[in-house]
């Protein structure tokens, strides 16, 4: 069976209960293998067997639950999908605002007599009461319609959500008022005043709609970072086309790989590519968080969406459309923002049982008042029961975690820290040990030759340049970064390299081979020992170079020690400050390197690292990470996404420090777009702040209900005579969701240093 996947836009979901209802409905459909519904993104991702069910049938199933759903369009890309979602959210906000405003005005007019205006007796005349009933029906049917429709759809599926509470609360108040209007004698004959609650029904609907409107707007703000990324995508590109070749402006979607694209000063780079002519400095801050423009010359990679500085250049288009760096970031962000953090399970479990429990409490409240109250027990019990239904808010609980995940991943993207989801976010906040790969992470990753030391009297037999030429000829066949440094050095000196025969790379030791009939061995002391080369004459020099943080390599030609070439990889300018920051965060910093102990210690000392594991072969990194985990540590590993992929995958959190182009790396939980360690520290700080926000949100959402429900039920009445009116309860309910979302939005302004 081949499964198809559809991402179906779903509208009208307001809380975790709505989400789980749509999800359960989809999972029950025949032919559906898996369904995940995303509340914040407003969509459902369904894996299904196209032979058993169609996407249209799935859309119908969602609509039957009372929510809106549309068939996904086939060619929807990440950008268009986000624009479409924005359009829907804006429409939803406008509709809620209009309904809230109109019902608020109607409710205020109906409340005038209660405030001593408009004449109490006039308003309570039968004609006016019927008028109020008619207005209330109008508000319920127009502004509050979706509460009742969705509550009914939920009820039919044996489930309940916020809409159920609002529908029962306002519905009960309305029916009670209608009986009091039609047959006041029924109440008065039993000594109970025939009170009506029409204005309360209208005001409750108005306040809840106001809360929903604020919530829709705040939720929209949580996606601000994603939206600003989408806006980075230019619409057109100027390319060279035709015969004779002319400059033409074409939509970005029509640019093909290999097209030459012209970028003028101050323009946004339209597509990813390699610079082929001209030079400039490009502002990449929007993607990497790097504040300084990055200089670009022929051969350098430029990323679509970044802003060209004062130079003009031409680039050859490379990755396009869905494969472009920007599209990958948008996709990663979109998936991350809708993902769930493990801490949310608690909220989900409570939301699932919340509404029936609240309905039970409301019934018990009415019965208790009816039995215990001395005056007007039915009326008071009824008001308290309605207040309980209205004040209980499952929405705040449903929003507590997803809004924080959404804002935080967006904030991360602004800083050039791409966090791949809620789970990664939560785990990164728990990290206590950070393991750094040396090359390319702590250091620049671009080693250069610093010293050439010769064996006693050897330069008379073989000149420095000739030795370097032979070594470079050998190392040209090696892929090791240190070998590359030697080749670069020889090329810069204009040396012409020869052919190599019988090349062999000895892992962890060096390389051997024959160049122009001479046998070469270049590597460490172990390699020299293998060939019985005496290294004693240069032992002091090697000691000195290692102590200075350089990597010395012995050179033996035809079995004679010719000299030592030292290569150093300078420490990044930002590493020291970043490592100090990690220490300040209470993290233990460990550096892994294949270098010898002395060189590694010298670099660690300079960078301020407290623990070094030297002489680690590439495969040993995984074992080292595992060893730390076995000691009970929560380990983050920072390394490049390709060579260090196994260690990144083994670590609790893998952070790929990148060139900004290998975002898709599977092994990493966090991608650091800016190539400096400071962003690793920022990722940890951001995660810790987010966890704090999530816990605050959950705490307030729980406390709000724990305090609000007994208050509404009248727990304080015996002691203080305090009883909450349903109208106040609806205001408090509206406030609770808004306060949770607002607390999450504070993360946007947080200083993450």
């Amino acid at each position: 069976m081949t499964l198809a996947t559809a991402r179906i836009p779903v509208s009208g979901m307001t809380c975790a209960a709505c989400q789980s209802r749509v999800q359960r409905t989809l999972q029950k459909q025949p032919g559906v293998a898996d369904a995940t519904v995303n509340l914040m993104m407003g969509n459902a991702t369904v894996s299904y067997d196209p032979a058993s069910v169609t996407a249209a049938a799935l859309v119908d199933a969602i609509r039957n639950t009372g929510y809106g759903a549309e068939l996904p369009s086939v060619d929807e890309d990440a950008f268009r999908e986000q624009e479409e979602r924005d359009r829907r959210t804006a429409e939803e906000f406008r509709e809620l605002r209009t309904k809230a405003l109109v019902s608020g005005v109607i409710g205020a007019v109906m409340m005038l007599p209660m405030l001593g205006l408009g004449g109490m007796t006039v308003m309570h005349s039968p004609a006016m009461l019927w008028m109020q009933a008619a207005l209330t029906i109008a508000v319920m049917a127009w502004a509050g319609r979706h509460f009742y429709v969705r509550a009914w759809a939920a009820f039919r599926h044996h489930s309940a959500d916020m809409n159920t509470l609002v529908a029962i609360g306002t519905g009960a108040a309305f029916v009670y008022s209608l009986i009091a209007t039609a047959a006041p004698g029924f109440f008065t004959s039993r000594g109970v005043p025939a009170d009506v609650y029409y204005e309360a029904v209208v005001i409750i609907i108005a306040l809840i709609l106001t809360g929903n409107a604020f919530e829709a707007r705040a939720k929209r703000n949580t996606a601000a970072a994603l939206r600003s990324l989408v806006k980075l995508q230019p619409k057109t590109a100027r390319v060279l086309r035709g015969d004779p070749v002319v400059e033409v402006d074409i939509p970005v979607g029509q640019v093909m790989a290999g097209d030459v694209v012209i970028v003028r000063p101050g323009e946004r780079v339209p597509v990813d590519g390699t610079l082929v002519a001209g030079e400039s400095a490009v502002d990449e801050s929007m993607l990497t968080g790097e504040s300084l423009p990055v200089s670009k010359q022929a051969g350098d990679r430029v990323i679509g969406g970044t802003i060209n500085g004062t130079g003009a250049f031409r680039l050859s288009a490379t990755t396009l459309g869905a494969d472009s760096v920007l599209a990958q970031i948008v996709r990663l962000m979109r998936d991350a923002q809708g993902s769930r953090a493990p801490i949310q399970h608690l909220a989900d479990r409570i939301s699932g049982i919340f509404v029936p429990v609240v309905i039970s409490i409301a019934i018990a409240t009415f019965a208790a008042w009816f039995v215990l109250a001395e005056a007007a027990p039915a009326v008071r019990g009824f008001a308290a029961a309605v207040a309980v239904l209205i004040i209980a808010c499952p929405c705040a609980m449903g929003l507590a975690v997803p809004t924080a995940v959404m804002v935080s991943t967006g904030k991360g993207a602004e800083l050039g820290v791409l966090i791949k989801g809620g789970e990664s976010l939560q785990r990164a906040g728990e990290v206590d040990t950070i393991v750094l790969d040396k090359t390319g992470t702590v250091t620049e990753g671009r080693p250069t030759v610093t010293d050439v030391v010769r064996g006693p009297g050897r330069e008379l037999a073989l000149g420095d340049d000739e030795m370097l030429r032979l070594v470079a000829s050998l190392e040209r066949s090696s892929e090791h970064p240190l070998a590359d440094a030697i080749v670069q050095h020889a090329t810069a000196r204009g040396l012409v390299m020869g052919a190599v025969e019988a090349f062999a790379s000895v892992t962890g030791r060096g390389a051997t081979g024959v160049v122009e009939g001479r046998a070469l061995a270049v590597g460490n002391a172990a390699l020299m020992a293998d060939y019985a080369v005496d290294i004693l004459p240069l032992a002091d020099d090697v000691e000195r170079l290692s102590g200075a943080g350089r990597t010395p390599m012995y050179v033996a030609i035809d079995g004679v020690l010719e000299g030592v070439i030292a290569v150093a990889d300078p420490i990044r300018a930002t590493s020291r400050a970043a490592i100090a920051r990690m220490h300040a965060l209470g993290l233990e910093v460990v550096m892994l390197t294949g270098d010898n102990e002395r060189t590694a210690s010298a670099i660690a000392r300079e960078a301020g690292i407290d623990r070094v594991v030297a002489g680690v072969l590439p495969a040993g990194k995984v074992a080292e990470v595992r060893r730390l985990q076995e000691q009970g540590r929560v380990v983050a590993m920072v390394g490049d996404g390709i060579n260090d992929a196994p260690a990144l995958a083994q670590a609790d959190i893998g952070m790929a420090i990148g060139s900004g182009t290998d975002i898709a790396t599977e092994a990493a939980d966090v991608v650091l777009m800016r190539g400096d360690l400071g962003s690793a520290a920022q990722a940890i700080v951001l995660s810790r702040r987010t966890m704090r926000t999530m816990k605050q949100n959950l705490f307030w959402a729980f406390i709000y209900n724990v305090v609000g429900i007994p208050l509404a039920a009248g727990a304080l009445f015996p002691a203080l005579g305090l009883l909450l009116s349903p109208v106040f309860a609806s205001a408090a309910m509206a406030f609770s969701s808004v306060s949770v979302v607002t607390n999450s939005l504070r993360l946007r302004r947080a200083r993450i240093a």
């Binding site: 029950k28 599926h157 044996h158 489930s159 309940a160 049982i353 509404v355 029936p356 309905i359 039970s360 019934i363 018990a364 009415f366 019965a367 009816f370 039995v371």
Partner: protein, 31 residues
């Protein structure tokens, strides 16, 4: 307690029972 109060208490207990049956048990049984 008066008779009406007993009636209300009994009705409330029945309603609570029904709500919990309907939302927690009935759905599972129908699957």
């Amino acid at each position: 307690m008066e008779a009406i109060e007993w009636v209300v208490l009994a009705a409330a207990a029945a309603a609570i029972g029904w709500v919990n049956w309907y939302f927690f048990l009935a759905d599972r049984r129908s699957q």
